[in-house]
Every structure is written in structure tokens, then in C-alpha cells.
């Protein structure tokens, strides 16, 4: 594991420079190195906050990190608090953090299970009931109709003569 961690550490140092505030980069004279790195592919974009805003964001972020480190120091080093294994026993933000913001649970419930339920619904209702039954109904209807028409063939000569005479009469009537 050491080598991958070393590689990641190196990359994180390099990666950090990509997002260096514009004002600082300008002051150091290195802004062109990063700003225009992907210009041949993506074109150039002139979009950045003012120096004051960038410094303010950096300052607030840094303060938050220092405060978190200090809070962690108080909690785990000074007071010797040990992390609670059972997420259910916690409340509020601690529960949220211990449960890793419940992203996995959210994903499982609202993406995976919802997806599976929808797929099952399609299979049970649309595929098996609607589509299959419609197709089968067409087949059944054809069978039923042919079953009715089959009975026209009675095998009795009188019936055939009667149909023949009626058909001739209809044709004559149509022609006249």
C-alpha cells in the first residue's frame, strides 16, 4: 500500500496547484502555466472571482479546517472519546457523519430498489398481462371466428344450394 499512497501524495501536491487562486498565481507569475493548460482542447475561459473573494474563501475554509482539527484533538486526544460503532445510538450531526451521510442507504433504497420494483412492475403488469394477453387475445379471436365460420360447412347439399342462390340474387341485385 505504501507505493500507491506515495503516488497519490505526489499527485495531490500537483493537483492542488490546478486550483490555485488566480490572484496568487498572478502574484507568483505562474498563472499561464495552469490557466492555459487545456486551452488547445477546451478553449480559453476568463472567469474568476476577485482577489478579495478568493482570499476570503481560502481564509474561511482554512479556519474551518483548523477548528475541526482542534475539535478532533479535544475530543479524541484530550477527552479520550472513542468512536461509537453503533450508528443507531447516535443522534444529530454525529449520526449523519457516522453513517457516512447515508449515501449508500439512499442509493440502495431510491435507486437500486426503486429500479428493481419498476422493472418487476413492467415484467408482471405490462409484459405478462397487457402485451402477452393482447397478443393471445388476437390469436383466440381468430380461433373463435374460424370456429364460427367452420360451421358454415355443414356437409348438407341444401345449405350450399341455398347460399349459392342467395349469393346469385345479391350479385344480380347489385348489378341491376
Amino acid at each position: 500500500m505504501t507505493i500507491p499512497l506515495v503516488l497519490l501524495a505526489i499527485l495531490s501536491i500537483i493537483g492542488g496547484w490546478m486550483g490555485i487562486p488566480h490572484g496568487i498565481a498572478h502574484a507568483m507569475g505562474i498563472h499561464k502555466s495552469f490557466d492555459t493548460f487545456l486551452a488547445p482542447v477546451l478553449g480559453t475561459f476568463e472567469m474568476h472571482a476577485s482577489l478579495g473573494m478568493e482570499l476570503a474563501i481560502m481564509g474561511v475554509t482554512t479556519l474551518l479546517i483548523i477548528a475541526t482539527i482542534y475539535y478532533a484533538y479535544l475530543l479524541f486526544v484530550k477527552k479520550q472519546v472513542r468512536p461509537v460503532r453503533d450508528v443507531e445510538a447516535l443522534t444529530g450531526p454525529s449520526r449523519l457523519i457516522a453513517g457516512r451521510f447515508f449515501i449508500d442507504e439512499f442509493y440502495r433504497k431510491y435507486i437500486v430498489q426503486a429500479n428493481d420494483k419498476f422493472a418487476q412492475l413492467l415484467e408482471n403488469v405490462v409484459e405478462n398481462r397487457v402485451v402477452d394477453n393482447t397478443v393471445n387475445a388476437i390469436g383466440t379471436a381468430v380461433s373463435a371466428i374460424s370456429n364460427r365460420f367452420r360451421k358454415i360447412q355443414t356437409g348438407q347439399l341444401e345449405h350450399y344450394v341455398l347460399v349459392f342462390v342467395v349469393a346469385v340474387a345479391v350479385m344480380v341485385a347489385l348489378l341491376i
Binding site: N115, Q120, V131
Partner: protein, 482 residues
């Protein structure tokens, strides 16, 4: 004359196989390899001489304006290559089972090959219809004689479904024929007749022809024959149906639909594209909940073919080129997927995924090769599936961004159902059904290796494949635009 061997080699092989008794499989394989060699020769000629279209035509039924006209351009060549590559693989895959009356089986398979090849090179509407119908007869008997439980009812359903669709296509062709000045079914004459029709009439012709293709591919909600037929069909039959036969319909969209009624496609095509996208999503979702691996492949095929249909009907270079490459990829991947099914079922007696598990730990080689096939199916970059699907989605996105975005979901859903099937069958603890699982034979390894090499080879270097049809596709679209 150069085109006649494409029909004669499989046809003569079919006759020879029928009279070869127990050696029928070797005769059939030999004939299909000879055919592959001839197709590669044609490809070489096509690339080196710069001859764009090879034609052959003799009058056949002059009273009806029917001629025995064949044509091979870049588009037909792609499908001919697909058929020539897949056929020996299907035949070789069938070697691991002893089928009763094998001389009849192999003769029927080669007869079907001849009919499918004919449909890919026919340049006469009547002839195309004839080959389209002839191809149906051998597969009907293959499923009926060597199929699984309930085959009588299911094959009849399959046959009736396809015949009904074909009838509409025939009506459309006859309608076009009546509008040709010389009363002929010749391809160019039908193109001119179709293009001269008012938009609404083009729409009707479009609907008639598309219905036949939509059933054959199939597209939702005309698909119900397909999962059942694939399920009961013997493995070589399922491979032929999925690997080659359905491409008659997707090829038909390029050759017998878009150029015939271009305005009809432009005006009403959105409905067909929409239906194809619904088909992609519907089949993908249904695949997710399938418990049987073979039924899963059947629904996955509907999803992939829906994407091909939508891309082709976008009627732009990317869509059609993507469709052609995807047809080739889908043919190869289908053979791989069905062959894995056959390997597992012959050893465990089941294709229910919940009953299988841990096969990879017994046969790591199968696990590895199956994974490559799965990656090809889910269109991972550097696999054959990626090239076609990427182009299809680009083409579809250019046509309609919303439909393109929905169609793009097929890749994600494809990962869900394919990876789940892989996990269930290959990973985890060895289930009871797989306890006595025997490792692959050399024949099985060779075939799967070939499938994997084609998947990776086409994925890494797709340029020669794309180059085959590029010029013909551009010309086809230019012809429509004029």
C-alpha cells in the same frame, strides 16, 4: 458472376451436408469456412481495386418485372462479412452436442445461411422478399425439431408473427411497383417510385415496411415471439436468430426503407425512433428482473436492437455507421453469450441464475472469457460494443437530444443486468448445481477465445471496419438529400 458464389457455396454445402450423414457437421463447417475465405477475397478486391459496387442481374420473370439482381456495396459487404464470420462460429459451437438427425440440422442451417446472404445482396424487391421468407422456413423447422418444451406452440407464434409483418412489406412493395414507370421491382426503380410519392403516401409505405422490420428485430410491443422462441430454440438456432437473422431487418432499414421513402422517414420516423427508444428502456428494465440467463440474453438483444433501429432511423452518417458496426458486434457477442449458456447448461442442467454460482472458482478460464464478452455487451471502451453504441448515440443525439439521452441510459442499464448475471453465475459460493462442474473442453476454449479476440480486436482498432461501409453510407445519404 462474382456474387453468385455467396449463394451457391452455402446452398451446395447444404445439399452436401444432407447427404453426408454423420460427417455433416464437418462438411457444413468446411463450406462455411470456404464461404468466409471467399468473402475475405471480395473484401480484398473491394479494398484494392476501388470497385465500389459489384452487380449481377439477369431477367427472371419479365412479365412481372422481376429480375435476379444482386448488388454488393460497402453496406452489403458489412452484413456479408458478419454472416461469413458468425456462421462458422455457430457451426463450431454446435460441435459440443450430438444432435439427432444432424445431417438435416446442418443442411437447414446452411440453407438458412444462403437465404440470409441472398437478402443482404438482393437488388430487386421481389427477390429480397423471397429470400426474407425462405430464411424463415429452415429456422422454423430447426426450432420445431430440435427445440425445447412447448416448441410447437411457440414456433407457430413466431412463424405467424413474422408472416403477418412480411405481408405488409409485400403490400408496400407492390404499391411501389405500381408506381414504377416500367412496372419493375428493381431497387433503383423502387427508390424513384417511392421518392416520387406525396409525403402522406410515403408515410403509409414507411409504416408497412417498418412493421415487417419491427417484428423481425423485434421492437416493443411486437416482441413477444422473441424471448419465447430464443428460449426454446436449440443453441445454434438461437445464435442464428440473434446473430444474423434479425440483421436482415436492420439491414432492411438501410437498404429498403430510408432510401425508398426518405420524406416519409423524415416526417414520420420520429414515431419509429420513439418506439425504438421505448423498446430499449423497456427491454433493459425487463432484463434486470430475469431469473433465467437465456431469457435475459433475449431481452438484452431487444434492447440492443432497439438502439440500432433508433440510430439507423436518425438517418445520419454516425447513426448508420454505428448501426452497421453494432450489427457486427452484436452478432459476435450473441454467439459468445449463447455459447456460455450452452456450456453452463450442458454441465449443470439449468440456466436459472439463482441456482448457479461460483463457476469462476471452478473454471477461471470461462469466468475470464465470459467477463470479456460481458464487457463487450456493456460497451466498455476498447471493446467492439463501444464503437457501435457510441456512434449510435451520437447519431441519435444529433437527431433528437431527448431521445438520445434516454437511449444513453441503455448503457447504464446494460451494466446492471449483465454484471448481475455475471455475479450470480460466476462469483460467490459454488451452488449445488455447479458442484460437479467440468472445465471447458479445448473446442469450447478455442471458440470463446476467438469471440474474445474479435471483441477486443474490433474495439481497439475499428478503423478498417468503419472504412468498409463509410463511402457507401455517405453516397446513400447524398442520394436521399438530392
Amino acid at each position: 458472376m462474382q456474387l453468385l458464389p455467396l449463394l451457391l457455396i452455402p446452398l451446395l454445402t447444404a445439399i452436401s451436408a444432407y447427404f453426408s450423414g454423420k460427417n455433416a457437421k464437418y462438411v457444413a463447417l468446411g463450406g462455411s469456412l470456404l464461404n468466409l475465405g471467399y468473402v475475405l477475397f471480395l473484401l480484398y478486391t473491394y479494398n484494392t481495386t476501388g470497385q465500389e459496387t459489384i452487380t449481377f442481374s439477369v431477367p427472371w420473370i419479365p412479365q412481372l418485372g422481376v429480375s435476379f439482381s444482386l448488388m454488393l456495396d460497402g453496406i452489403s459487404l458489412m452484413l456479408t462479412i458478419l454472416s461469413a464470420i458468425v456462421m462458422p462460429m455457430v457451426l463450431y459451437a454446435s460441435f459440443n452436442r450430438d444432435y439427432p438427425d444432424r445431417h438435416v440440422l446442418y443442411a437447414l442451417m446452411m440453407l438458412m445461411d444462403a437465404a440470409m446472404a441472398g437478402s443482404f445482396i438482393a437488388a430487386d424487391g421481389f427477390l429480397f422478399y423471397l429470400f426474407w421468407e425462405i430464411a424463415l422456413i429452415p429456422i422454423y423447422f430447426i426450432c420445431l425439431k430440435w427445440g425445447g418444451e412447448g416448441r410447437q406452440k411457440i414456433t407457430l407464434k413466431f412463424f405467424l408473427y413474422t408472416m403477418v409483418g412480411s405481408l405488409f412489406m409485400l403490400f408496400a412493395f407492390i404499391y411501389l411497383y405500381q408506381h414504377t414507370p416500367d412496372k419493375t421491382f428493381a431497387l433503383q426503380a423502387l427508390y424513384e417510385a417511392g421518392r416520387s410519392l406525396p409525403v402522406q403516401e410515403q408515410g403509409l409505405v414507411f409504416a408497412g415496411i417498418f412493421l415487417a422490420f419491427a417484428i423481425k428485430m423485434p421492437i416493443f410491443p411486437l416482441h413477444t415471439w422473441q424471448p419465447e422462441t430464443y428460449y426454446i430454440a436449440p443453441t445454434p438456432g438461437a445464435m442464428l436468430l440473434s446473430g444474423i437473422m434479425l440483421k436482415m431487418a436492420t439491414y432492411g432499414i438501410i437498404r429498403w426503407l430510408i432510401p425508398v421513402v426518405p420524406q416519409g422517414v423524415a416526417e414520420y420516423g420520429i414515431w419509429a425512433v420513439g418506439l425504438s427508444v421505448v423498446s430499449i428502456l423497456y427491454a433493459s428494465f425487463i432484463s434486470i428482473v430475469q431469473k433465467d440467463y437465456k431469457r435475459l440474453i433475449a431481452f438484452a438483444s431487444i434492447a440492443h436492437v432497439g438502439l440500432i433501429s433508433a440510430g439507423l432511423l436518425s438517418a445520419n452518417v454516425q447513426g448508420i455507421q454505428g448501426g452497421l458496426v453494432e450489427m457486427l458486434s452484436h452478432g459476435i457477442n450473441s454467439v459468445g453469450l449463447f455459447f456460455v449458456y450452452d456450456i453452463i447448461v450442458t454441465r449443470t442442467g439449468t440456466s436459472e441464475m439463482d441456482k448457479l454460482g461460483g463457476i469462476r472458482s471452478i473454471d477461471p478460464r470461462l469466468g475470464f472469457m465470459f467477463l470479456i464478452i460481458v464487457l463487450g455487451v456493456v460497451a466498455l471502451p476498447f471493446t467492439n460494443g463501444f464503437v457501435g453504441e457510441f456512434l449510435l448515440i451520437v447519431g441519435l443525439f444529433k437527431y433528437n437530444q431527448v431521445l438520445g439521452a434516454f437511449a444513453g441510459l441503455s448503457i447504464i442499464l446494460g451494466v446492471v443486468y449483465m454484471f448481475r448475471s455475471f455475479q450470480k453465475m460466476m462469483l460467490g459460493e459454488v451452488k449445488d448445481e455447479a458442484l460437479n462442474y467440468k472445465k471447458q473442453t479445448r473446442q469450447e476454449t478455442m471458440l470463446l477465445l476467438l469471440v474474445c479476440l474479435l471483441i477486443v480486436g474490433f474495439g481497439v482498432y475499428p478503423k478498417p471496419i468503419l472504412a468498409i461501409s463509410e463511402k457507401s453510407v455517405v453516397e446513400l445519404l447524398q442520394g436521399i438529400a438530392q
